[in-house]
Point group: C2
Chain length 279, copies 2
Amino acid sequence: MKVCVIGVGLIGGSMAIDLKESGYATEIIGVDIKPDNLDKALRRRIIDRALPIESGIAEADIILLTVPMDAMLHLAPFVLNLVDRQTVIEVGSAKQRLLKSLEDHPQRNRMVAAHPMAGTEFSGPEAALPKLFENKSCVLVEEGATDPDAWVKGLEVFEALGMRIVQYDPAAHDLHAAYVSHISHISSFALALTVLEKEKDEKSIFAMAGGGFSSTVRLAKSSASMWAPIFEQNRDNVLDVLDEHINSLAKFRSYLIKNDFEGITELIQKANHIKKILG
Amino acid sequence: MKVCVIGVGLIGGSMAIDLKESGYATEIIGVDIKPDNLDKALRRRIIDRALPIESGIAEADIILLTVPMDAMLHLAPFVLNLVDRQTVIEVGSAKQRLLKSLEDHPQRNRMVAAHPMAGTEFSGPEAALPKLFENKSCVLVEEGATDPDAWVKGLEVFEALGMRIVQYDPAAHDLHAAYVSHISHISSFALALTVLEKEKDEKSIFAMAGGGFSSTVRLAKSSASMWAPIFEQNRDNVLDVLDEHINSLAKFRSYLIKNDFEGITELIQKANHIKKILG
């Protein structure tokens, strides 16, 4: 299978590595608006060839759209205009606005809408990793809008990456993504802002980071160009869960003010329930 | 060196493993109010012998106090009453209240006050790990209150664990610990509460967790019996940084409400500065 990756960054690059490694992809063609990304990806042998977008699409069997959500809104219809027999797989982190904008596109049926739930806080082809997706969940939406042969190619791709398939409708996807993934990023960005604001001594941040801060703040290293458009396209759900998050912190605040440490203990024990879900 | 560990859990057990492994400890004596902890620690060979507290202290050269902060307030003076030539090392996560309560104790000079900045979200001797402390920071306070020979033993212990030594006064320790470590735990507990409240479908939490939630919420698995007393003993500093954290989240909320995604981008870019500090 010839695979064309449009947007050779963390996600596109990591998919390329495993699709090649598993033997599913016989060749990886890279397309990127940044020539520097293509150079790096060629040097790391993540892609076999770099091509302009039109010829990359023309030569490929499968096209992976792995770009930030703002670019996705413009790029997806442009790419669909250029395909006939190919399968396009878009992996955006928000679904409703994008899919709504494509519902009348004459080639919508050649596209699989997917959200592989994996990533790191880094970006660019230098951040691409093997096995990034293994044993993680991939959300697929709108099976009915996709031709069966294209849908099967989508399943093959995510199975080659070792992912578990979950299906939602676009609205449910955006709700669940906001409630679990998007709020985690806001929480982590806000924790970084808090510590940077209060703790003016950078050496103390470094010294104290071993006590759990490093891992809780890890996502705060994530790029604004990727995340601001996600929050924009999933704004209502994100606002909804953010209100609840502020409310949860306000409960801690209220118990602290009242010196009610039994209340604090109960909050922590309730939070501990997450252990049973995540293992 | 004969080392007596009082409280054979994650921290005490992990210290015991590396002190034995490095050759610094010739024997590890375990003391714990839970016989089950002692059984587990003996079976894992974390301790060589289990003894009652009085005989454990009498036989040891160095005594590690590795118990939750509420127990520490009662246990530290009790243990100091029983020592003469020995060195006691307390590793509590909050310093001011404890050290204030001990300042007139006639054996205060035999105690090293330390806070090794390392841990995991798990507890008990089954959670003890080798190399938990390696390359992490250990905060030492009140050098002047400790006999030089006891201080040197403290340094030897944390060097045997591979830690970097940092010194603060107790007030500065509590401030920095709240600003970086304690707020990370509250943030993570609150994230768990938020997701458990909004996302009633546990399968969706599990499916979506790969998108960063798992690591951001990791600390929310930490035990209430350890953390409620820390928040109690460092309440004012924790409240102070918690107010700032709610404020940081309110900034995201306000930009989302105004649909100001340039504002969101600026917040994220500011948060990204944490990368330069943590690497």
